[in-house]
């Protein structure tokens, strides 16, 4: 373990001499994650039919009903045919489509308008007449903002492009770092250090630089979320962007490092294949 850490430390020092290439790789990796996120989040599903109508029966309850009785009544109402969902509002709570509740109320989300009148009488019966008022709300959801299908194609193209760029930059960074470290590499190989140990440390360096890109991605993701999260159109085109808390962290700390390690390993294999090894630099390092 200490052997590997020592070699990793030496290799990191050599990589810092090529910081601009490694930083370019880190940025490209961040853009891979960003374009991948865009692809994943822009297809976020929406629960309501675009432009659809929803009806809610607001049942205002008598003050005489206890909490337990309201709870029991809610379950009974939920079992009625035509009722999709039941929820509760205190006095002053917001109602769907705007407005506030005038008192304690049960909200019955129903499908067809025809079932509303039949439900009204059934509700009164089940509540034992302790219903103050019943109100039918008919809401029309606005047609959501739509993104043209091309936007997802663009994010896919961006993903492929930045993935390619990250591989090219990883290769360039690995080649340059290895040229600085060629003498050390050869000395260790001739000393009997297993090649997998050296290769593993090289991949670890790629992973560490990749983490820089992952942190950058996370910072941009969360920064944008704070900046545009309040815009309704953003909620409509990418609901998952605002809803999922785990997504950016999983992307940054699982997919990002895996991609960085794969890119580093791929670049190293390309660099070490016979006939493609960079020349040993005889010029002393300064």
């Amino acid at each position: 373990m200490t052997r590997s850490l020592f070699i990793l430390g030496e290799l990191l020092r050599a990589s810092v001499r090529e910081w601009s290439r490694w930083l370019g790789f880190a940025l490209a990796l961040g853009l891979v994650l960003a374009s991948g996120s865009a692809m994943a989040l822009l297809q976020g599903g929406r629960t309501e039919k675009p432009g659809g109508i929803i009806r809610v029966l607001v049942v205002y309850l008598s003050e005489e009903l206890s909490d337990a009785a309201i709870d029991e009544l809610g379950w009974k109402l939920w079992e009625l045919e035509g009722v999709k969902k039941v929820s509760f509002r205190f006095s002053g709570d917001e109602l769907p489509g705007g407005g506030v509740s005038k008192g304690r109320a049960l909200l019955l989300w129903i499908g067809e308008e025809g079932v509303a009148s039949a439900l009204e009488s059934e509700v009164s019966r089940l509540a034992g007449g302790k219903v103050m008022e019943v109100e039918l709300l008919t809401l029309r959801y606005p047609v959501p903002t739509r993104l043209p299908p091309l936007s997802r194609v663009i994010s896919l193209v961006a993903l492929v492009f930045f993935a390619f760029v990250s591989l090219v930059l990883a290769r360039s960074a690995v080649v340059r770092t290895l040229s600085h470290w060629r003498n050390e590499w050869d000395l260790l190989r001739f000393s009997g250090v297993e090649p997998w140990l050296l290769m593993g440390d090289f991949i670890a360096v790629a992973l560490l630089w990749g983490l820089v890109g992952c942190v950058l991605y996370l910072a941009i993701y969360q920064g944008l979320k704070g900046a545009v999260g309040g815009i309704p159109a953003v909620r409509e085109v990418a609901p998952g962007y605002l809803a999922s808390r785990a997504f950016p962290y999983l992307t940054a700390f699982i997919i990002g490092p895996v991609w960085a390690a794969l890119a580093g390993g791929f670049a190293l294999l390309l660099t070490l294949r016979p006939g493609r090894r960079p020349r040993v630099s005889e010029i002393p390092e300064t």
């Binding site: 200490t2 020592f6 030496e10 003498n183 000395l187 000393s191 009997g192 002393p284």
Partner: protein, 226 residues
């Protein structure tokens, strides 16, 4: 009667045929004792470097047996081979050193990379520096050294972890007589430290010039198509 401990390398009936069908070795056998320097001489393409690679198992022979410190290297698994490989000092041609580091840092770099620390590392550095005559030069940057000194430094790096044998690939090539003398002096000194050396050279007269007997020379001839 020689014991296993007295023998650094024992090669028996070694055969190597290339993919093109050239028989480089046909039944090569020799023994290198722990306190011995042996010179492998022969013209280019006679298999001198190949022999060193076979001893390090970088290449597999077609047939035969190679014992290093009593262990058959052809039968070792990867982990055991790696451990044994650390007991073989190797100086390639051209030799590899770290020019931007001092003589001592070159040695410590290898030792730390092999996980050797503390007292053992100190002993290794001291022994390698004293056997190769580098003690007064340990603070000198490697790129400031002359060509002969660089080759000796490569030897010092190769022996700092106390191997059983030192394999040197053409350490005299292109050196002035004075530098050759310096390298030979280091090899003799390393032998006194209990480390055997197997040294390749193109020059068949070199061992005799430095006073070595016929038994210290292993002449190779170019391979023939099998």
């Amino acid at each position: 009667m020689l014991g296993t401990y007295d023998i650094a390398i024992q090669v028996s009936e070694l055969c190597f045929v290339t993919e093109e069908g050239v028989a480089v070795f046909e039944g090569l056998s020799f023994t290198l004792l722990r306190d011995e320097i042996k010179f492998v001489t022969g013209p280019p393409l006679s298999g001198k470097t190949l022999l060193l690679k076979l001893i390090m198992r970088e290449v597999y022979p077609t047939r035969g047996q190679i014992l290093v410190a009593g262990r058959n290297i052809l039968r070792l698994n990867a982990r055991k081979l790696a451990r044994l490989r650390e007991r073989i000092g190797f100086v390639p041609y051209p030799p590899v050193i770290l020019p931007s580091r001092t003589v001592e840092e070159n040695l410590r770099f290898k030792l730390r990379a092999l996980g050797i620390k503390g007292e053992r590392a100190e002993e290794g550095v001291e022994k390698a520096l004293s056997l190769t005559g580098f003690s007064p030069l340990k603070e000198v940057l490697a790129y400031e050294l002359g060509e002969g000194e660089r080759r000796v430094l490569a030897m010092a790096v190769a022996i700092c972890n106390d191997p059983v044998v030192l394999l040197c690939d053409d350490p005299f090539r292109g050196l002035s007589p004075a530098d050759q003398e310096r390298v030979m002096e280091a090899l003799r000194s390393i032998r006194t430290g209990g480390i055997a050396s197997l040294v390749t050279t193109d020059d068949p007269t070199l061992p005799r010039r430095f006073g070595f007997p016929e038994e210290a020379v292993l002449p190779l001839r170019p391979g023939v198509v099998a």
